[in-house]
C-alpha cells in the first residue's frame, strides 16, 4: 500500500491507530509510560542491565488499522500526555526522547548527543564573540578550600546550603573538607589579586567552560534545575566602573542573541531586584524568558556587576597612572545548559520536540517513500544525492534509509526528535524531478524542483527560524498583563500571566508579596525591571504597598 497516500490523507492519526500493532512488530518504540517506569527504577535502584528481548529486525509493515480503543490513552507518537494536559509529564517525556537520560543519582542527567550538539553550536557562537572582546579562556580547579569559599559573607550565605563537600579520598579522611565549586568567584579572585598590580594589567578578562555543582533539594528538572550543570563563567576586572557597566550590557546582548537568534526564544532584558540579585554583587542584569503553559518566568542568563565588593574582600588593588592605589571593578556573567530546557519548553508540541534550524544538529532529514513495484533503488539514490547536495551547501542533512522502519514510522520519529525540515522522495517525485518538503513548525508541505533544491531549503530554514521566534513571541505577548492594584495582581497571577506592575522598588515590599502569595505552586516574586520602561504617569502608586511607584517591574512565579 502507498504510505504517501495514507500519511498525507490522515496524517499522524493513522500512525496512532496503528501504533499498538506497529509496536508489537517493533516498528514503534515502547510507549513512554513504560520507559518512565524503567527510569524510575533506574532513579531508585541504579540502572538495571536487564531488558525485555526485542527484535527490531521485524518486517517493514505498517498497514491495517485495528484495536482503536487500545490506543485512546496515547497522543501523537510515543508521548502519553499532551503539552496542555500535563506540562510537567510532557516535558519529561520530550526530554527523555534522546535529549536526556535520567541518571541513577537524582538531580543528575546525561546529556545525549542530540542535546550536546545544541550546546556545542551555542558554545561556538559565544566563544568566538567573547574572543573578539579580548576575553581569554582558562581553567580553574573544581575544588575550593573552605577558607577561601567563605571569604565573602553574603556570597557564601547565598550558596552554602547547596555546596557539596569532599571529605574522603580512598578510605582515608581529608585533613580539611574541600568544597566543589558552585561558581568560581572565590576560586579565581585570590589570583586576580596576585596577577593585577598596575593599571597596565587591566582589564583582565577570563572565561571558562566547565561544570559546577549545586546540591539543590527543590525538585530537579532536566536542564532547568540539576545538581550538576555545564556553563561558561566569565570573570573580568576593570580600572573604572564605566568600563564594567559597559561590558555588563555587551555580554547581556550576547545572551539575548543566543535566546532570540539561535533558540528562537523571546526574552526581556532587565535589572534584577535587590532580593534577586547575585549574592555579593552590586547589581544583576538578566534575560528573562516566560513559559505560557505554566505561567512561570525563567531566568535565562545573568550578567553581574560585582562592583568593588569582592575586590575589597580579596584585596584586588592596582596602581593607577598617578601612582595611587585603587580597587578594581569586577563583573561576572554566565549562561548554562538551562538554555536548552527553555527552548524545549517554548517550542515543543504534542508530537515532541521542535528544534530551531540554527541549533539543530540535523536540519533536514531525507526519507525515501518507496512504493511496491516502483524504482526503489532510484529513490534511494535520489535521497543520497539530495543529502550530498545539501551538505555540500553547508546544510546539516541526513538520510534515513533504514529498511526495518516504515516511512510513517520515520516521519513520526524525526518529528519527535524535532528536525526542522523533512524531505520525502517517492516515485512521483522521481518522475517530476522534485522533492516534497514538510516543515516541522507548521506542517506545511511543498513540492520543490530538484534544480533549485539548495536555495529553496536555505530559504525554508530561515523562514522556520523566523516563524518559530514570531510564534513564541506572540504567545508570550498574549500572557503579558499590565496591572495597577493588588486585586488585579492576584487575578492575573491565578490566570498565569506575566505581570507588569508599578512598584516602589523596596526590598521589604517584595518580601511581603512573596509571603502573601506563598502556596504549593510557589510564591510570586520580581522577574526583572525591563530596561524598556513604559511611561510611568506622575503619581502612579505601587500595586503592593500603595507608596509612590518608582518603575515598572515584571512579577510572576518562576523556575
Amino acid at each position: 500500500m502507498n504510505f504517501r497516500v495514507i500519511f498525507e490523507s490522515k496524517g499522524l492519526q493513522v500512525v496512532t491507530l496503528l501504533s499498538p500493532y506497529l509496536r508489537r512488530l517493533q516498528l514503534l518504540p515502547p510507549p513512554l509510560s513504560l520507559t518512565i517506569k524503567e527510569e524510575e527504577k533506574v532513579e531508585m535502584a541504579g540502572p538495571s542491565g536487564k531488558k525485555e528481548k526485542v527484535d527490531k529486525a521485524g518486517p517493514s509493515g505498517g498497514g491495517g488499522g485495528k484495536k482503536k480503543k487500545d490506543v485512546k490513552k496515547e497522543t501523537g507518537l510515543g508521548l502519553s500526555v499532551k503539552k496542555d494536559e500535563n506540562f510537567g509529564e510532557w516535558y519529561s517525556e520530550v526530554c527523555k526522547h534522546e535529549m536526556i537520560e535520567y541518571y541513577d543519582i537524582s538531580g543528575c542527567y546525561i546529556l545525549r548527543p542530540w542535546s550536546m550538539a545544541i550546546w556545542e553550536i551555542m558554545q561556538t557562537f559565544f566563544d568566538a564573540e567573547i574572543k573578539k572582546m579580548k576575553v581569554k579562556n582558562c581553567y580553574f580547579p573544581l575544588f575550593v578550600s573552605p577558607g577561601v569559599l567563605e571569604k565573602e559573607k553574603d556570597h557564601i550565605e547565598g550558596f552554602a546550603p547547596e555546596v557539596a563537600w569532599v571529605t574522603k579520598s580512598g578510605k582515608s579522611d581529608l585533613e580539611v573538607p574541600i568544597a566543589i565549586r558552585p561558581t568560581s568567584e572565590t576560586v579565581m579572585y585570590p589570583y586576580y589579586s596576585k596577577w593585577i598590580r598596575g593599571h597596565r594589567d587591566l582589564p583582565l578578562k577570563l572565561n571558562q567552560w566547565c561544570n559546577v555543582v549545586r546540591w539543590e533539594f527543590s525538585n530537579p528538572t532536566p536542564f532547568i534545575r540539576s545538581r550538576e550543570f555545564l556553563w561558561q563563567e566569565g570573570h573580568t576586572a576593570f580600572a573604572t566602573k564605566e568600563e564594567a557597566d559597559k561590558e555588563v550590557l555587551e555580554i547581556l546582548e550576547l545572551y539575548r542573541r543566543i535566546y532570540e537568534e539561535y533558540l528562537a526564544v523571546p526574552v526581556v532584558k532587565g535589572m534584577k531586584s535587590e532580593n534577586e540579585k547575585f549574592a555579593g554583587g552590586l547589581y544583576t542584569t538578566s534575560v528573562e524568558a516566560f513559559i505560557p503553559n505554566t505561567g512561570r518566568g525563567v531566568q535565562g542568563a545573568t550578567s553581574h556587576c560585582l562592583g568593588q565588593n569582592f575586590a575589597k574582600m580579596f584585596e584586588i588593588n592596582f596602581e593607577n597612572e598617578k601612582g595611587e592605589t585603587e580597587m578594581v571593578w569586577q563583573n561576572s556573567w554566565a549562561y548554562s545548559t538551562r538554555t536548552i530546557g527553555v527552548m524545549i519548553m517554548t517550542h515543543g508540541d504534542d508530537k515532541g520536540l521542535i528544534l530551531p534550524p540554527k541549533v539543530a544538529s540535523v536540519q533536514v532529514v531525507v526519507i525515501p517513500v518507496p512504493y511496491k513495484d516502483a524504482n526503489t533503488q532510484g529513490i534511494f539514490d535520489a535521497c543520497t544525492a539530495t543529502v550530498a547536495a545539501l551538505s555540500e551547501a553547508g546544510i546539516r542533512a541526513e538520510e534515513d534509509l533504514r529498511d526495518n522502519y516504515s516511512p510513517g514510522w520515520k516521519y513520526s520519529n524525526w518529528e519527535m526528535k524535532g528536525v526542522p525540515l523533512r524531505i520525502e522522495i517517492g516515485p512521483r517525485d522521481l518522475e517530476n524531478d522534485q522533492v516534497r518538503t514538510v516543515r516541522r513548525d507548521n506542517g506545511v508541505k511543498e513540492d520543490i524542483p530538484r534544480g533549485s533544491l539548495v536555495e529553496h531549503v536555505k530559504e525554508l530554514l530561515e523562514k522556520i527560524q523566523a516563524n518559530m521566534y514570531e510564534v513564541a513571541k506572540q504567545k508570550r505577548e498574549a500572557c503579558v498583563e499590565e496591572i495597577k492594584t493588588w486585586d488585579e495582581f492576584i487575578v492575573a497571577l491565578n490566570k498565569k500571566k506575566l505581570i507588569l506592575a508599578p512598584w516602589c522598588d523596596e526590598e521589604e515590599v517584595e518580601r511581603d508579596v512573596k509571603a502573601r502569595t506563598k502556596g504549593e505552586t510557589g510564591a510570586a516574586k520580581t522577574l526583572c525591571s525591563p530596561f524598556e520602561q513604559p511611561e510611568l504617569p506622575e503619581g502612579t502608586l505601587c500595586f503592593a504597598s500603595g507608596k509612590p511607584a518608582k518603575k515598572w517591574t515584571y512579577w510572576g512565579r518562576s523556575y
Copy 2:
C-alpha cells in the same frame, strides 16, 4: 644608545648583566626565586592578597652594565636554574611563567590562557577527526554511585585508592557517599546496556570532554600528575572484535599525530604489558614519550580494547542478524592535559618555553626597536602593518608596543613565553623596507624584505615546527640503548637510557624487575612493546629471566 647594537653584539648576556638594574627599574620581572617563595606560601596558607608595591610605569631604560656579581646566581632571564642542573626546579619555574598558577589545594593547578590556548588547538583538531569517524559528543555526570563504581572488580581495584568521595551537602550528610569520576566506564556502561538492543544500534561511539579527579599522593607535577585534569574520553561498542581492534589503532594514530605533528614530540606506538594495561581491559595500546633529562618514559595517551569484560559485568548485549544474543566488544581511549607537560619538558631550554608554531597561540611577536631621534612613529606603524598582514594571512601574530619596557626586556620576556618567531623593526629596517626575524628554536636571525613577508614567515614557521621535531627525535634516539643481559640493563638504567630489551613477556618477571630496581628514583618497568619490532634472532633469551625471549620491549623509569 642603540639596543639593536647591544642585543645583536652580546645577545642575552647583556640583559643578564643588566638584569638587577633593569629589575630595580621594573624593566624585568622579579627573579623567580621570589615568585617561588610566594607560590610556596600560597600552597601552604592559601594565596595572600598582599603584595609589595610595584611601579611598572618606570622609565624605559636599559643601558649601563654593572654589578656583575649580583647576577651570577641567575641564568637567562628570570629562570634561577638551568634545565640540566635541576630539571625539576627548572620545569616548575617554566610552568609558572604564565602556563600554570599553583593553587591553594596541593595537586590542583590553574591552567592560564597561555596553556589553555594550546589545549583548545589540540581539541579542535581531535574533535574534528573523531567526528569524521562518526563519534558523537555527549556529557555524563561527574558523580558515580558506589554500587556502579564497584561493579567491575579489577577496574575498581585499579582506581579505589584515588577516588574522592562527596559525603556532605551544605551541613547535612548524604545518605550514601558519592564518588567523583576517576574515569567514566562505570558511569556510562549501565546506559550502554539500556541503549543497545539490536545489531542496528551498533556501533555506538561516544566521547566527552571533561574533568576527572584522581586523588594521588605521589608527588604532584603540573600537567604531568595532578589531582584534577582535563581530558577527552571516548567509549565505543561494536558487534565484532575486528571492528574494535581496528578503531583502537585508528585512535592511537590520532594520538601520535597530536604528539608528533602538533607538539613536535616523537613518540613510540606500542602495546602495554599485562601489569601495565588498563584495569579491567583486554589490552592497552599507547604512545610513549621519553624525557632525556630525567631518563624517564611518559605514557602519552592510551587507546584500550576492553574486550567483553565490561559488557559481561554491565550486561551490554545485542541481538545479531541471526536473532542470537551476543555481547558487545568495547574500547575506551583518552588523552589529557598531560600532553602539554610532555611538550614543555621536551622543548624548553634555559631561556624558558619553546612552543611549536602549530600550537602557539602567538606564533609571531612583532617588537619595535626605536632609536633616539629615529622615526619612532614610523617604526610603530610598520609593526602594526606587519601584524595586520600576518593576521590577514591566518598567522597568529601580536605586536608589543608597550612603552614601559625596553626592547631587550621584551625579547627575553617573549623568549621565556616560547613564542616561535620574533620580528624586530628598527630604523635600519624601515629604511631598507625589511624586517628582522629571530627564531626561538635556534636563534637564527634573518632580514627579510617586507614585500615577501607572509611567504617567508609561513615558510619559517614550517621550518621551526619540523626542526623542533627533528631535534627532539635525535635527542631521544641518542638515549635508546639495546641490551641483552641484566648487567647491561642496570648500567643502562643508571645512565638514564631508554632501554630496549628482549623479554619473555611474563608478568612475574616484570614484577621481579620492579622489585630488584626499587629505589628512591623509582623502579624500572616496561614502557611498551613497540609495534615496530626489530628482528629477534632465534634463541634470544630474556634479559631478566633467561627464558626464551618473545619480543623486544622498552623498559625504564617513568612518570
